[in-house]
Symmetry: C2
Subunit: 288 residues, 2 copies
């Protein structure tokens, strides 16, 4: 069963509670940051792992998925600010700071970070013993020293290892999705960590490749930005062919790391579908 | 017993875990935002209420106090950004965005918000039944629709009630301090809410008055900024004399709302001392 409608409904519920009252323009900026969504790959991954692990506390799994997506959206809003990427567009519409101004973009990002923790606490209230590890997983993925904020901050350091940058800026939240999916279902998260790590890296490599090949329709944002902004990029480090081979290798290793579980076959099919979506064959043929 | 050394030690521990590894400049910006501190009035209030309520889970009370102070520091870092107050100084030193640049100021604020939830989850792990209400109290105080981010966002709305603005931007975190102090000690938080509300408003009114009277040494930042930025201010709305009378009245009502408890007398003395610190008699005599 496709978990996307379930995810969208839970995101709508979370935003409704935060936006029903209070400053209308802040509410507008928060909604603009979350809807319409992208592929929602992180929350879908979280729910898919929870289902593969039995999904015995569906509200906790949904809350973790929602928290992860809200944190992802918050990071995009702040990444797009003039002092970082100064992006005009995101997901095919005006970036939040273009639509609502810089001040509300800063505040919408802040409020979405807070809302993520609120949604998790509320959804996992019925399973409080799982709340503590879920919170630890989530904070590790987004804060310092190894989460999204740290990854973004590496852009301000003089020398950076590409792998450190990608692992913190992108990989950490994918790991939170697989580990958190297992934790929300009361399963041992350890076997799911490598899968999140490899998928996160594959996702980032695919993004770097698409940035060069310029599939604007798929990106929903202008291409060629990495080189323009001097950002670390796999396409730049490995060359385009090397980056595509690296992507294929990461997907192979991700498939090989799916833990033995009832839903393994379904999970495998999902990953193969996702890999083709991330880097369509017709796109990579352009590189040949 | 003065809780300040206990608070400083806990803040140091929280920062140490976030800053030991990872990007050094982000770690520097985070430390710069938290040390040296101001009066630490919110965490002191939280610990004082917890002690008045028996303080039977001191680690939970400390964690709530630390979380509140980290969120306060994060809000100051983002408030000082060029798109908001464009402040040069804070707590007598360069504002974070002046010392580390705008990008690291945005990220340090984000990472401090995340660290607040991490510290709370870790400190309250031994009392997980208290973690759920503590998280709800904390998120309500800082997010949308009624917390700090919402209060700051009211500056972007065409018409604002001064009381709404102050309650969200300042009052909410004072309420979290009193309510959270009680919750961390397993006590009923309801009787402590009015106290936090009144103290928060008194604190904001005192800040508005000092902004006019120009006690730069105490503010640790330039004065006259409210009028310059067209921000809602009690001194502007009520006149200087009216604002001072309002402050005195709020402190009287705060004192009257101290719940019956073993530590009531001690708590009363603490509040009277704090009121004099917030608005010294020698300063208000200047207004006569």
């Amino acid at each position: 069963m496709d978990p996307l409608p379930r995810i969208e409904r839970c995101l709508q519920d979370a935003l409704a509670s935060a936006c029903a009252e209070g400053p209308p323009r802040l509410a507008g900026a928060m909604r603009h940051a979350v809807f319409p969504g992208g592929a929602r790959i992180r929350p879908r991954l979280c729910i898919a792992v929870a289902m593969a692990c039995g999904d015995d506390a569906p509200r906790a799994a949904e809350a973790m998925a929602v928290a992860i997506e809200l944190l992802h959206c918050a990071s995009l809003v702040h990444d797009d600010l003039p002092c970082f990427d100064n992006a005009d567009e995101r997901r095919g519409q005006a970036a939040v700071h273009r639509a609502y101004g810089e001040r509300l973009a800063v505040l919408a990002g802040d409020a979405l970070i807070v809302l993520a923790f609120e949604a998790l606490a509320r959804g996992a209230a019925a399973a409080p013993a799982r709340l503590v590890p879920l919170l630890a997983t989530l904070t590790r993925a987004v804060g310092a020293p190894h989460g999204i904020a740290a990854g973004q901050a590496l852009e301000c350091e003089p020398r950076v290892l590409l792998s450190d940058y990608q692992r913190a800026k992108t990989g950490a939240l994918f790991v939170a999705a697989t580990v958190g999916g297992a934790e929300s279902a009361g399963a041992d998260p350890a076997p799911w960590r490598a899968l999140g790590d490899r998928l996160g890296e594959a996702y980032q490599v695919a993004d770097d490749i698409r940035d060069v090949l310029g599939d604007r329709a798929m990106l929903g944002k202008p291409s060629g930005r990495d080189a323009e902004l001097g950002r670390p990029s796999a396409a730049e480090a490995l060359g385009l062919d090397g980056a595509i081979r690296h992507f294929d290798d990461l997907i192979e290793r991700a498939l090989a790391s799916i833990p033995t579980c009832r839903g393994a076959e379904q999970f495998r099919a999902l990953l193969e579908h996702e890999a083709e979506r991330l880097l369509p064959a017709e796109l990579t043929s352009l590189a040949a």
